[in-house]
Amino acid sequence: MTDWLAPAEWQALALSLKVALVATLAALPPGIALAWWLARRRFVGKPLLETALMLPMILPPVVTGYLLLQWFGNASPVGRLLTALGTPLAFRWSGAALAALVMGLPLLVVTLRTAFEQVDQRLEQAAATLGASPWRVFIGVSLPLARRGLIAGAALTFARAFGEFGATITFVSAIPGQSRTLPVAIYELINQPDGEAGALRLVWVSLAVGLLATLGASLLLARGARARSEPAA
């Protein structure tokens, strides 16, 4: 069953799945907090924060990767500290996950912010009068009511993280098993004289993963919609 992909191709697929999953999970806490903050708070410097968050979507990914290399690379103060702590990011899968997170976070924040903005604040008021602290209002009312945005945003982030190429190869290069993710592997195979067949196989695999992620998100969204429109028992 496993022989229709070469071991190196399996390795790239497994690595990409791991990187995308970790990046998505790690993006959730800051993504949810930022989306909520932008949806509900007015503060000095808000446009600045909005712009900074959108930068990874606007800049060429190679620029984002270069900046990550400057800030987190082994020559940087942060990089030296991380190396001293035994968790360097450069040329590691964790660095690839960081690059994927930075590239995916804007999609999560944009999607979820819109969802939060659509939550009826009168329901949040009602929850407060019933004894809910702001945190309980958020956990028990706002977040469940924004769950469609959360699912859609997480799916988009996963897909973006899975397909991340430019920032990844710039920041963490293409070390097999560490940073040679699926898109990086495809790129390398295309540039090898006999790599055409392998590249094609991996293209099919990325199509399948993309479709599965989209399908999974659609199913989750449909389940939420059905539960809401279900006729009364």
Partner: protein
């Protein structure tokens, strides 16, 4: 005992309200747009008055001069909004128990009693988007009651309901007042509803409390004579 002395302002609109009442059920009565719902929101802690104080049963909820402004959860008031504001992601049971769970647990006996009091026993597993207007209003009342409030704040509880639902809900409210002894603060522009529930009525007009009447005085001034014997009142079993 309720003691309100506040100034509310929203844009051009201003309301100076000064009420002291020592009754189980006080109504704020006035036409639409007179500011009575804003006053209710101020008592609930959802709207900050410009100045003044709000004291309920000896507990200061708001005092501008002393810098006291309890947040809505700390006020422990059961607010029944005109638009019900039920949580669409929870079923009827989940809505009823929302406040109870936050305030020390869901007591099954209390749930059963409240559901019985409001005629909701058969509706507990239902989703709220299938409820009628009257049913939604009753769930909102039950949800507020189960949060163990120090007082119940009702904003136009009968408005927008058709005749049968009005009659039914009014009967529930009268029963609730008789059986539960929770202080009620009612906001309404509906004289029948006010006459059926309130012991004292504050009339709001021209941006202030124009008068304060007891139930009998309110009936003579605001309820047409024939209304006492027909329509919703007679059907509730309340002696007019």
């Amino acid at each position: 005992m309720i003691d309100i002395d506040v100034r509310l302002r929203r844009g051009e609109f201003q309301l100076d309200a000064c009420i002291r009442a020592e009754v189980p059920a006080l109504a704020l009565f006035g036409p639409s747009g007179c500011g009575k719902s804003s006053l209710l929101a101020a008592v609930a802690g959802l709207l900050r008055p410009r100045r003044g104080h709000i004291v309920l049963d000896g507990r200061c909820l708001f005092d501008a001069a002393r810098g006291i402004d309890l947040d809505p959860p700390a006020r422990q008031l059961g607010v029944v909004f005109q638009d019900a504001r039920l949580f669409p992601h929870l079923d009827v049971r989940g809505n009823l128990l929302y406040g109870a769970r936050l305030r020390g647990g869901a007591d099954p006996v209390a749930l059963a009693e409240t559901a019985a009091l409001l005629g909701l026993e058969a509706h507990l597993p239902r989703r709220i988007d299938g409820l009628s207007g009257g049913e939604a209003r009753r769930v909102a009342i039950g949800r507020a009651l189960l949060s163990r409030p120090r007082a119940l704040l009702l904003d136009e509880p009968l408005t927008g309901l058709h005749r049968a639902a009005r009659r039914e809900l009014l009967a529930h409210l009268v029963r609730l007042k008789q059986e539960l002894r929770v202080p009620l603060l009612l906001v309404s522009h509906d004289a029948e509803e006010v006459a059926a529930i309130a012991d004292r009525v504050a009339l709001i007009g021209d941006g202030r409390i124009a008068a304060s009447l007891d139930n009998a005085g309110f009936r003579t001034r605001h309820l047409p004579r024939d209304a006492l014997h027909s329509s919703t009142l007679a059907d509730t079993g309340v002696d007019p």
